[in-house]
Amino acid sequence: METIYQYAWLIPVLPLAAATIIGLGLISFSKWTSNLRQISAGFVVFMIGAAMTLSFGLLWSQLNGHAPYTQMIEWAAAGDFHLNMGYTIDNLTALMLVIVTTVAFLVMVYTDGYMAHDPGYVRFYAYLSLFSSSMLGLVISPNLVQIYVFWELVGMCSYLLIGFWYDRKAAADACQKAFVVNRVGDFGLLLGILGLYWATRSFDFEVIGDRLQDLVQSGALSGGVAALLAILVFLGPVAKSAQFPLHVWLPDAMEGPTPISALIHAATMVAAGVFLIARMFPVFENIPTAMTVIAWTGGVTAFLGATIAITQMDIKKGLAYSTMSQLGYMVMAMGVGGYSAGLFHLMTHAYFKAMMFLGSGSVIHGMESVVGHNAAYAQDMRLMGGLRKYMPITASTFFIGVLAISGIPPFAGFWSKDEILGLTFAANPALWLVGWLTAGITAFYMFRMYFLTFEGEFRGKDKVVLNQIDAEQLKAVGLNFGPGAMNPKELIMDIAPGTQDDHNHDAHAHASTPHESPWTMALPLVILAIPSALIGLVGTPFNNYFEAFIHAPGEVVETLEPGFHALPKEELTEFLVMGGSSVGIGLIGLTLASLMYFSRKIDPAAIADRIPVLYNLSKNKWYIDDIYYNVFVLSSRRLARQVLEVDSKVVDGVVNLTGLVTLLTGETLKYLENGRAQFYALVVFAAVLGLVIFSGVTS
């Protein structure tokens, strides 16, 4: 088995090679390469498939108890400083490799159908491949610096993919927002890395953990500083995993094509934050303050995301807030010390959320045939309804996802969420309450989404709703321009027909009902439905294979014989109480959603009118984006303008003036005004003359 470890570096390199070859082709022979659509796609899929095979091999070997394997080369050196890079394969890495490669593989197959009509088809595959490579590089990183390297690279790929349709203004804004917000997190991460290196002289996770503990215990480093450093590092995951207060980029990132929303913004990249917390666990677990901060950040994010998701009408935005909320669960789990619980949820969530995003893409694809290529129409749930009749595969797989995320046993999400809530209850009942309420809200908004989209009557041709959406779009744009900036009629021309480049395939927009997506899109949905339904069974409390495989470094987990293990009585009671309560609140949410959106016994609008403050708070995303815009964006622009003012008026003026006064008095000014080289020649001549005289006098 050693051979497979020696060649494990191929896992990120294969997709990188594919991306490089296609990228070079696009730059050098753009026409020709753009036309090689199926070949390029096949090549990329083949490469990721090869990486997936290797990953499965590694996972198998790790499951069989192979020791962790690390291979390093010296990467940078200066004097006595040496920094090594390489790869390490342990249980966690092997698991992450399999998650990333399988989701990436299926998303790439799906992309063929979804992007079939897009002129940027080949470029999209190149980006996808580049992203996969960076993400795989991230999970095999053996030290903090290498993590940081790939951390930023996945951020860059995310930037490129969010801005993929670069002719859309919203996409242009969103990709920049994503990059800059992530840089704020990276800023903290970098400071944290530097601080930890300063304190411990190491970039190695376990070494940092051990030494930091020694330093704090011996009093060489105050506990406050250690906590500060840990929290700075945690800022990285806060941005990457869309935790409050740096979550604002994720919903906007939905401007990218849907396959990347599934791959990057649901399954893999956003989970990298949780992965980093897991890697840094040896450091964090000894710092109670940091753990508390992490737990509460996660809890608040879970709640915040869920409360915003309940009023979203854009199907992808709804899923995005749901992702944010679920990431909050994972982070909360890490914060209460639930290492394997958090990673378990990461795994189950990766599969069911990727499936749901791909499902929403399938819905959008179907809707586009009715309402045309306009994201504002095709993604709005008010125009959907009854799609189960037209898209049975999408509907049933999506329904499995809804059951999984709502925590209905025996679907995947139940087991992982239950484990998290159980651990949280033991650690902090107040936090548990937040998580428990969130579970109810989750069931509510997910079933709301399902009912609005797939049940009832199809509303795709509803003129009232269409006009309402137009009006909302205008209002949103109008806000950006300020009042009275433009005649609203002009704006309709600009934005209502969607983006102009889409007109070439607007021909699709004349069907009266949506259709099921092609098999390249449906097959990945079906395949993903299997783990979404069943993978939770590897982590049941009766025999937690998952925890036996993935547990915090240094933690001893008793290895269990395969098979069902009856729990001791008190543990079984606890499981039943915890599981029962979370299923209970889930069922309440489900019932409420079905009353409001399925049987229509309760009018949602009436509730919204009853509590306008809460409704608007949720609808406007707690006003966080507006606050950031006013506080950070506007003030930084103002500051920059002021500095430039100072630079061009004050600094330039003063230095010019000093220069004039000291260098050029009297006659010389004349030469300055001419602005000719004579003046310069004069200066040099005078200098040389002075030199000669000087040397003559002194020698």
């Binding site: 730059i27 050098s28 753009s30 010296e74 990467w75 050196a77 200066a78 004097g79 006595d80 400083f81 920094l83 940081y148 390297v149 790939f150 690279l153 860059m156 930037y159 670069y166 002719d167 203004k169 996409a171 242009a172 804004d173 920049q176 990059f179 800059v180 840089r183 800023f187 400071l191 530097l194 290196y197 300063w198 411990t200 002289r201 190491s202 970039f203 190695d204 070494v207 930084s636 500051l639 920059a640 303008r641 500095v643 430039l644 061009s648 600094v651 330039d652 230095v655 010019n656 220069g659 300055l672 602005g675 080289a677 003046f679 310069y680 200066v683 030199l691 000087f694 040397s695 002194t698």
Partner: protein, 535 residues
């Protein structure tokens, strides 16, 4: 003939200059022969540079190598004395590389091509001379002489305000360089012996008070060149008016002269004063990073925006130089080379964009990415390099400076915390202005106003080739920085050791034990050459 005794350095300096003198005699009807001639001369010189270092330079030595010294004007003891060591060798290679590409970038020049290429070739030799000469007087002369071609290139081929920009450039740099002359003379006549030789000057034992004065004088001169705020205002004007090839030289090489001279003179010759001045430099470097990033963000003129970004990046060089660690100094060197490549590529792309849009105002652009896909892609790649994306050279350099400074024992912990924090704020500001820039130029729906009167053709193969040439080393160094750092490491380590000796209270550098090397750093093999071959 091609042995180590051949005067290689003199050859690479004088060959382009001599070749430039033939330009007036070349028959050239359609204006195309000259550019080929210049390109071939550039390529030959670059090939010789690479061959010379590959064959006769010992990368594991910190000594001055390939030394030549001839008496030139004995009355004033002016000697033609050249040599290279770890801090000049990478910059000589960079000069050959960038200048050759600048010749290729000058392909579309139609106004007075003879004079243009003549000046470029003169610049070629002049720039190498600045990095190679080892005599203070000669250094001053080459420093001054290399200004004349740039002045002419600015004032004849520049934009609308070229006269103003060129005059300002010459006044600032020539005016400030008088300080070099004064300090050089003072140092030469200090003590018992009169010498202009840099190594002898460095060996002189100078009183601290005297050192401080000299240091201040040099600092003014090099602060203008580098530039250090507040002596930077010539740069946006000059960069705002220059054409793309001149731009590449200004950003790629001329700014590096400031950094090089700062290391060569202030750090190497005046280590005592450096210990006193270093905290000031660190503060100035931090100001550079933040202040220039903010001004760049507010700029609406594309060229000036990128010009300010250069100033911002030079801040890391200043901090690295003042870190008193191997890593920091090595990072400063790396940042100079890296910015040389990245700055040149960005400015070239700015020029290429301008050639098509004929406007530099961001408000008039937007949506050009639809027509100029390749330029868009290359601009994105180079912007990413500039914002220190890992996998590209800028990141490694900034990381080394960060780690070097953060672990430096020469400064108190609060000082380091504040500086690192503020410099890291620059990491947030850089993507803000660079990505806004990309968004405003390329993103968005097709720009009807612009396409109505400008034909936005995509990049031609020549342009792609130039950017590819620049991106290969940028990414190569980013992937495996040792490729570059190991060729100058011996020198920066020796220099840091010397600096630390001069600064009381600094013990042995504490290095990482945990990063214990798995592989010994194998120095590049090179024929052992006795340094110091005087003729």
């Amino acid at each position: 003939m091609l042995t180590e005794n051949f005067p290689w350095l003199s050859f690479i300096i004088l060959f382009p200059i001599a070749a430039s003198l033939l330009i007036p005699f070349i028959p050239d009807k359609d204006g195309k022969t000259i550019r080929w001639y210049a390109l071939i001369v550039g390529l030959i010189d670059f090939a010789v540079i690479v061959y010379m270092f590959g064959s006769f330079y010992d990368f594991s030595s910190s000594e001055l190598q390939l030394v030549e010294s001839y008496s030139w004007i004995s009355q004033i003891d002016l000697r033609w004395s050249v040599g290279v060591d770890g801090i000049s060798m990478p910059l000589v290679i960079l000069t050959g590389f960038i200048t050759t590409l600048a010749v290729l970038a000058s392909w579309p020049v139609t106004l007075k091509p003879r004079l243009f290429f003549f000046l470029l070739l003169v610049m070629y030799g002049g720039q190498i001379a600045v990095f190679a000469v080892q005599d203070m007087l000669l250094f001053f002369l080459t420093w001054e002489l290399e200004l004349i071609p740039i002045y002419l290139l600015l004032s004849i081929w520049g934009g609308k305000k070229r006269q103003y920009a060129a005059t300002k450039f010459i006044l600032y740099t020539a005016g400030s360089s008088l300080f070099i002359l004064v300090a050089a003379l003072a140092m030469a006549f200090y003590g018992d012996t009169v010498t202009f030789d840099m190594r002898s000057l460095a060996a002189k034992d100078m009183a601290l008070n005297f050192q401080l004065w000299m240091y201040a004088a040099f600092l003014i001169a090099y602060a203008v060149k580098l530039p250090i705020i507040p002596l930077h205002t010539w740069l946006p004007d000059a960069h705002g008016e220059a054409t793309a090839p001149v731009h590449m030289l200004l950003a790629g090489i001329l700014l590096k002269m400031g950094g090089y001279a700062l290391i060569r003179m202030n750090v190497e010759m005046l280590p005592g004063a450096h210990a006193v001045f270093a905290p000031v430099l660190v503060v100035l470097g931090t100001v550079n990073i933040i202040y220039a990033a903010l001004t760049s963000f507010a700029q609406r003129n594309l060229k000036r925006k990128i010009a300010y970004s250069s100033i911002s990046h030079m801040g890391f060089v200043i901090i690295g130089i003042s870190s008193f660690t191997d890593l920091g100094l090595s990072g400063a060197m790396l940042q100079m080379v890296s910015h040389g490549l990245i700055g040149a590529s960005l400015f070239f792309l700015v020029g290429a964009t301008y050639d098509r849009t004929h406007t530099l105002m961001l408000d008039e652009m937007g949506g050009v990415g639809q027509k100029m896909k390749k330029i868009f892609a290359m601009f994105t790649a180079c912007s990413m390099a500039s914002l220190a994306l890992p996998g590209m050279s800028g990141f490694v350099a900034e990381l080394m400076v960060f780690v070097g400074f953060a672990t430096s024992d020469a400064y108190s912990v609060p000082f380091r915390v504040i500086v690192v924090f503020l410099a890291a704020v620059g990491l947030i500001l850089t993507p803000i202005y660079l990505l806004s820039n990309l968004r405003e130029i390329f993103f968005g729906p097709e720009n009807k106003e612009l396409t109505a009167h400008e034909e936005l053709v995509d990049a031609e193969p020549r342009e792609v080739f130039i950017i590819a040439c620049l991106l290969v080393p940028i990414i190569g160094i980013g992937f495996y920085p040792k490729i570059l750092t190991q060729i100058y490491d011996a020198k920066t380590v020796a220099l840091t050791a010397r600096l630390r000796d001069q600064r009381p209270g600094l013990g042995e550098q504490v290095v990482s034990e945990s990063m214990a090397q798995l592989f010994d750093a194998k120095p590049l093999q090179a024929p052992a050459i006795a340094a110091g071959r005087s003729l």
